[in-house]
């Protein structure tokens, strides 16, 4: 017989460890010194604690998005739109359309030099 909380704990340990291992491999491979934890899972305090342990050992910096912004990225999109608007990027509402394949690495960011 398996104990239900044990199964939950095991799944969480395996999944969280995998996420952090990927981040750690990414750090070593690129030589970067910062980790940004975003998205829904960033709301997990437990994941955050694990990330803190990893960055402490690697001597790199961790930034975590505040929980109220972690779940939905509507605020991020609105903020990006505001920055774009201020930098002269404008689209008339009647000409606006949805572009599902638009990837963040393809977006021009004139507000960063």
């Amino acid at each position: 017989m398996y104990h239900f909380p044990d199964i939950c704990y095991s799944v969480r340990e395996v999944v969280y460890s995998a996420i952090i291992e990927v981040a750690e491999r990414g750090l070593v491979h690129t030589g970067k010194r910062e980790v940004l934890l975003v998205g829904g899972v960033a709301a997990s305090k437990y994941l955050r604690r694990k990330f803190e342990a990893m960055v402490k050992e690697r001597n790199v910096k961790l930034y975590v998005v505040p929980p109220k912004y972690a779940v939905d990225n509507g605020v991020m999109i609105a903020w990006t739109g505001l920055l774009a608007f201020k930098s002269g990027v404008q689209v008339r509402p009647d000409e606006a359309f949805i572009k599902q394949r638009w990837r963040i690495d393809r977006v021009d960011i004139p507000w960063i030099k």
Binding site: S17, I20, R25, V28, E57, W102, D105
Partner: protein
Amino acid sequence: MRPSLNKDGGLIGLTFHGSNKLRLITAGAEAVIYEGLFLKLPSVFKVRISKPYRDRRFDSLIRKERTLSEARIIIAARKSGVHAPAIYYINADEAIIVMEKIEGLLLRDILDKLTDSERCRIFIDLGKNVGILHKAGIVHGDLTTSNIVIKDNNVYLVDFGLAKYSNEIEDIGVDLHLLLRAIESTHYEYKDVLFSCFLEGYRKVIGEAELELVLNKVKEIRMRGRYIEERRNRGV
């Protein structure tokens, strides 16, 4: 946490003690690599380190299993005829593998200094080695020019840390895709000739029919990528 290198009471204690100093080579994401003598043989010591973010029980299990798996796969690869380091010693509990140091140069570092025909000959040899590996049901998982050592004009595959047993066309395709991406990003000027030389050697081992299957899969995997022109042009 630093690994306790001299905890083992037996063989390994001899090599870590006294005048035989281990030289730290690299501290990777999951393992620390030292060089030194093992029973007077020039050796590489790969130690998988404990991670503070993993549950202690899970951590020791994962290090132990990965150590055993890597050592087993290297041994199987060598049995099939792949050029890979000989395994000298394994301590699963301490997550240590001691293996032959291939006293050569990284392909990454010498590629630019070679002539066209030398480069091609090496990639044919590489193709044969990878072909034998795949035919033995093993994928390497990290085929970059940093994991290929050239010694006496022969190709050696090293770092099987991400290797696994698989006969799946998907895994084989990913192996070749990674190699192709590695060549493209670090040796762009001769990527086409290198890959065609590689395929010449690879074809000799696995045969034309299998090669076609693999190459179709590689093409399919490539099209999944986000940054591919062909694909980008298809969408909005």
